[in-house]
């Protein structure tokens, strides 16, 4: 796959103020996404996936969070620049949230919410916008578009709401779609439909997808490449095939072993991490404390990504030794 890179993140750092100090939720993440590929991002809850996703469209976490460093560019546009970001966000980049129920304005009709997006980005007549809204609704597989158009979110089921979200996200025919774990709230059958929908869209529109999930199943069905995130850093990234077949990083192994993703509880809480941070001074492997194969050197110094070839990289000393 040699499409051009349309989206790149370099050494992105996002901090959140906790109590007195700040702690990095996303810490030195670097990623790139090629035209019409699908990159999956897995990791436990609290790993900072959603924060990363929001940062990718230039939105710092609320409240009192800030994007502390790094570069995020989409077609050369600086996504950390409010104005440049707004020009493309919602237009060329569609974003879908995890919880559809909470992500729709309860006081506006579905139709209105689709239209306002279109009108906000395109110089278009209301009538035309309405036409497209109806198309979109049927495109995302909603049975009776006209009635859905005038319906309010609370009248929809979870699946329907998420479809509506898709309709909104796709309303300006984006080339890049960011999904923040959009299917987690839905039951398996709906999930399947949604995924089918995405794949279908990718084929038809050559859509580029960045898909956050905590389910390798989804990754397998949807993505070309997958990145594994832990405590704000990318520990491993590579072609889905490679990563799933021979995971290198102990953490990836553990994730795969516990097919599916451990629940949030097992993930270190912010506070705990604040502690951990102060403990190892933010150097070395974050996973060290839980790593079965931990070595003294793990927490000694920052660990670089080591390339295993074919775009399969990991952030672990075991590997860097081997090579």
């Amino acid at each position: 796959m040699t499409n051009e890179i349309i989206y790149s993140i370099e050494n992105l750092r996002v901090e959140v103020g906790v109590g007195g100090g700040t702690i990095p939720i996303v810490d030195g993440v670097s990623l790139y996404i090629r035209q019409s590929e699908a990159l999956g991002l897995v990791g436990e809850s609290g790993a900072g996936k959603s924060i990363l996703a929001m940062a990718m469209i230039g939105m710092p976490p609320q409240p009192n969070g800030r994007i502390a460093g790094g570069r995020v560019s989409f077609h050369g546009l600086d996504m950390l620049n409010r104005r440049e970001a707004r020009a493309v966000v919602g237009k060329r980049i569609g974003f879908i949230f995890e919880d559809p129920a909470a992500s729709l304005d309860p006081c506006y009709t579905i139709g209105a919410q689709i239209i306002e997006t279109i009108v906000a980005h395109e110089d278009i007549h209301k009538a035309a916008a309405r036409e497209r809204a109806l198309e979109l609704l049927s495109l995302v597989g909603i049975a009776d578009p006209p009635s859905a158009y005038t319906a309010y979110p609370h009248q929809f089921s979870g699946g329907m709401q998420q479809r509506a979200m898709f309709a909104i996200a796709l309303s300006c025919r984006p080339e890049f779609l960011i999904g923040d774990n959009p299917t987690s709230a839905l039951d398996v059958t709906i999930q399947a439909q949604i995924l089918r929908l995405i794949n279908d869209l990718r084929k038809r529109l050559g859509l580029t997808v960045f898909w956050i999930t905590n389910n390798f199943g989804v990754v397998a069905k949807l993505c070309d490449r997958v990145a594994v995130m832990y405590a704000g850093t990318i520990l491993e990234i590579g072609k889905v095939r490679d990563v799933l077949r021979n995971p290198v990083h102990p953490y990836t192994r553990r994730l795969l072993a516990s097919s599916g993703i451990p629940s949030a509880r097992s993930g270190p809480s912010l506070a705990a991490r604040a502690g951990a941070v102060s403990a190892n001074g933010e150097v070395g492997c974050r996973f060290a404390t839980q790593c079965p194969t931990v070595m003294t050197t793990c927490s000694a110094a920052p660990i670089a990504m080591s390339d295993l070839g074919a775009g399969h990289l990991t952030r672990c000393l075991l590997v860097s030794k081997a090579s």
Partner: protein, 315 residues
């Protein structure tokens, strides 16, 4: 909607009857005998009895209540025992003045409360927010009767800009501007509390909405800030309207303090006078008036909120 209104109406009836019973009995528990009073200083016991009879107050309370209710049902609240003026005529006059005062102060309260509340809701801990917090604290802490007095000292005595009392100037044309001129100080004094309350409520409402996911989702749609603000305010409106409606209803009688300080001939003053001077008919009528108004204010709020919140509308 029809069923809703029907239920509502039945409920009102229940409340009104209950209220009228309470007022009717309590009025008769107030120490002192209006008849003795009406009969004047020289009356003999026999003459008082005659007068009492002429007012039908010699009958048992239940009978009196029955008669009164029967009349009231036909919109006849009788004549004021003290003034002989038909109660409805008397009260409508007062009501007009009070509504004027309430309207005036609500206008100020909304102007300040909403704007400051919304702005500080959008910029918490900003300069406006700090100002707002002070204003709100002052608003809910200032005793209206004392605040009114300060306003008089400041803007009627030291700086004779506004009249200290009354609703129109005696020689003035009594035109709109004359009234507004008289209205200003009392309105400000009355506005303090609702302003403070609404400011805080509005701020809270906006803050709570802004924390919601859908606002981020809207931002992620790349909507411009103005559009976002509209969404937020629209979502906050039901709560804002709610507290606004309550405050307006509250002022109907809370205005009494300003009415006293500025000798503004309003309903609160009338009720106070009627209760203390035991003008049964007026007191009963007035309380009925107030309660009906209160219920109406609620209906207005109940009717307005669904307009902004489909979830209620369709529930």
């Amino acid at each position: 909607m029809a069923r809703y209104l029907l239920r509502r109406a039945a409920y009102f009836l229940f409340i009104l009857v209950g209220v009228s019973i309470v007022i009717f009995t309590t009025m008769r528990l107030v120490p002192g005998d209006p008849i003795v009073y009406l009969a004047g200083p020289f009356a003999t016991a026999k003459q008082r009895a005659a007068i009492r009879e002429s007012y039908g107050l010699d009958k048992p309370v239940v009978v009196q209540y029955g008669r009164w209710l029967a009349k009231a049902a036909q919109g006849d609240l009788g004549r004021s025992m003290q003034l002989h003026v038909p109660v409805t005529e008397l009260l409508f006059g007062k009501l007009r003045n009070t509504l004027l005062l309430v309207a005036g102060s609500m206008f100020i309260a909304i102007l300040v409360g909403w704007s400051l509340g919304i702005l500080s809701g959008f910029r918490p801990n900003g300069l406006i927010d700090r100002i707002g917090l002070v204003v709100a604290l002052a608003g809910i802490s200032l005793p209206a009767f004392w605040f009114g007095m300060l306003l008089i000292i400041a803007f009627a005595i030291n700086l004779p800009w506004f009249p200290a009392n009354g609703i129109v100037s005696e020689r003035g044309d009594g035109g709109v501007f004359d009234v507004l001129w008289h209205l200003f100080l009392p309105a400000v004094a009355t506005a303090a509390l609702p302003c403070g309350v609404m400011l805080r409520m509005t701020r809270t409402a906006v803050l709570e909405i802004r924390r919601m996911t859908f606002v981020r989702a809207l931002a992620a749609k790349g909507l411009p800030g103005r559009a976002l603000a509209v969404h937020v305010i629209w979502n906050a409106l039901p709560n804002i309207l709610n507290v606004t409606g309550m405050q307006a209803g509250f002022l109907l009688t809370a205005a009494i303090f300003s009415e006293v300080v500025f000798s503004w001939p309003g309903l609160g003053l009338q009720i106070y006078a009627a209760v203390t001077s035991q003008d049964y008919t007026v007191a009963q009528g007035a309380v009925l008036f107030i309660c009906i108004l209160f219920l109406l204010f609620n209906v207005v709020v109940d009717v307005l909120r669904p307009i902004f919140d489909p979830r209620i509308r369709m529930a």
